[in-house]
Amino acid sequence: MIPELGHLALVLAIATSILLVILPLVGASRGNHQLMATARPLAAAQFWLLAVSFGCLVLAFLQNDFSVQLVAEHSNTRLPWYYQITATWGNHEGSLLLWVLTLAGWTWAVALFSQSLPRELVARVLGVMGIISLCFLLFTQMTSNPFVRILPVFPYEGQDLNPLLQDVGMILHPPMLYMGYVGFAVAFAFVVAALIGGKLDSAWARWSRPWTTSAWCFLTLGIALGSWWAYYELGWGGWWFWDPVENASFMPWLLGTALMHSLAATEKRSVFKAWTILLAIATFSLSILGTFLVRSGVLTSVHSFATDPTRGLFLLVIMALLTGSALLLLFLRASSIRSDGRFDPVSRESGLLVNNVLLAAACGVVFVGTLFPLLVDVLDLGKLSVGPPYFNALFAPLTLALMAALGVGPLLRWKTDELYRLRVPLIISAVISITLGFGLTYFLLTPFYWLVALSLTLVFWVICTQIEDIRGRIRNKHHRWQALLNLPRHYQGMVLGHLGLAVTVTGIAMVSFYDIAEDVRLAEDRSTVVAGHEFRMVELYDYQGPNFSATRAVVEVYRDGRQVTVMRPEKRFYWARQMPMTQVALSPGLTRDLYVALGEPLDDGSWAVRVQYKPFIRWIWLGSIIMSIGGFIAISDPRYRLARRRRTATVTGEQHVAKT
């Protein structure tokens, strides 16, 4: 009964989304207030129907209802209950249902938090989100129905969830990533709604800013979680592989970052309008492209659960349809888009332009590297892959250029400025950062790498210029600490975001150049020394888990004769899928991680063990967390809400004038 109820809710959600597409959009074009007013309740109804549908699927997993094909293929009675829940989205159909649920959630959120926006705009935004929702609901229903039953003969026991996905990182990673991906649909919907309405002042930029920023925050967290998961679960200590699936989430992040910044310029100074619109469309298209790459099975990865060409084709059609019609609208309205702000080559606008050019170039680099092999394959010109060296060679200089510009950009004034005015803070920052960057690298790190020295210099450059800027803002205040807290929220958020980037870059530079990985043979009472730490295997024994059997090693770690920690790496064997899995042991720390993984048993009873020393790797994820906290603080700035109220007042005022 429950799966049928879930399916019914899904079908009803499709019907609701059809109404959500038609009624508000027709209402907005005819100026019919009653039709427009249906948008909000329909958005709410769609969300709750999908929530019921998703809830039913979760329940089917929890009840071990193996008559449902999806449950039989991805769950098992011996799976702990929390992994039975996460198994819901550990497969294609379930994760797609989560995708549409997330989209419906964002739609409902827009409906809730748009009370002060013009009615036509709200109706159009929700209508456009309804279109996206309808496309993906049809996709779910027609190619990937999660509620398909195996009747009349169904298995007594299910296959297991892929052991790689039985992990806490997996509980959080997909929902976070989807919140990010799908969140960009809101920015897209605002742009399309503004294009339909033809009212392209900078108001839509202000309205879509908090939505874009929050989507970006979730995406940042989602990507960081994915990297963290790969680090301890999959990658033998690697944290980023330039795997096409990772790139699929990284491309929208890069363009989304560019969009956040160009929206600021568009809102404040009414410049780069067409570019911002293009970015919003492109960012969302890349989100769909990401879904396509991951879900169509064209890629080789843990994420491609199954290969089914119709699904890939369907997604490509959706992407072409949504992107194509948005671009067509942009083309039709191009003449009415006027960026009337003027600015000098030295100004905040130029800084943001540099930011956008660099981020777009970075996205282009990833795009080419990810899609070129696919293109060659489709054209049947051979099979090739583009390795990490390609991405590293291009990405490092772009990131460093971005950091260099980041030191100056936020200090510049809007419209026009003089570098001469900033000479003191810039020179001080340059001297400090070069001294610290090169000094620290030269004296504390061996061997000396130019690229590390340069990276650290730029890290300090960003930090110093931000501090100089803050100092300038609170210099004339009596209570400086109070003044620091009283700085506008959006400014605090910006500073945190930029400092977060500096933290992440520090981690990347350190771990890329100074990590040590050694594969050694270890047996009981044998030890090895890696990076000044002695790893001694004291015990090796077998034990049984709920759905696996395992061999566990106990490794004591000593430094200078004193015990630092005890690590317990495991090799597990999952019965249901007959699949071995490595469970690594980590000793995390702010300045270094120790990492021990059991490789394979060797003939004489010893084990091949990988021992790693990873300096500053936590900083990569710590920086991402700081960046997203910065984003959330920026959204909480009251100016978005106040500004909205003021704007509405003027808009309604205009309408009255127009009517009379």
Binding site: W236, S304, F343, K383, V386, D519, R521
Partner: protein, 147 residues
């Protein structure tokens, strides 16, 4: 020039410059870092370049895995339906590396048709076969039937 024109010129110039640099660098980097894929029979037919990083995929030949007793050196053969070549690797093999399993090795080809692998990739779960390997097997099996 008016300021509006100067601004437009500045913008256009910077975009052209940036995209020019980006395209040049991207093309250069792509040419440097592309890894071509070959099936074992193609390698033996001399189609693969020597001393460049390539990718070779096939099924691990049962009984061909040999491990050094002192170090972590391991060598094994991978085959398509026509030919087999030997791969050596130093380090830990992936969890799902097994006899009869489809794998991809990334490494350089020596003069004696011997691959020195830097990396060995296996599938992430048991339903899955690397697409290149599946494709190579299909092609070679058709060629085989044709004889």
């Amino acid at each position: 020039m008016t300021s509006a024109r100067r601004r437009r010129l500045f913008m256009v110039m910077s975009v052209v410059f940036a995209s020019g640099v980006a395209v040049a660098l991207t093309t250069y980097a792509l040419r440097q870092h592309i890894n071509l894929f070959f099936a074992p029979s193609q390698v033996l037919a001399g189609e693969a370049p020597v001393d460049r990083v390539i990718r070779v995929g096939g099924l691990v030949v049962p009984g061909s895995i040999s491990r050094d007793q002192e170090t972590l050196q391991v060598s094994f053969e991978i085959a398509d339906n026509i030919a087999a070549i030997r791969v050596s690797y130093s380090g830990i093999l992936p969890d799902l590396f097994r006899e009869g399993q489809g794998i991809v090795a990334r490494g350089t080809l020596g003069p004696d048709y011997h691959i020195q692998a830097q990396e060995v990739l296996a599938r992430h779960d048991e339903e899955y076969m690397p697409p290149e390997v599946a494709d190579a097997l299909k092609r070679t099996s058709m060629a085989h039937d044709g004889y």
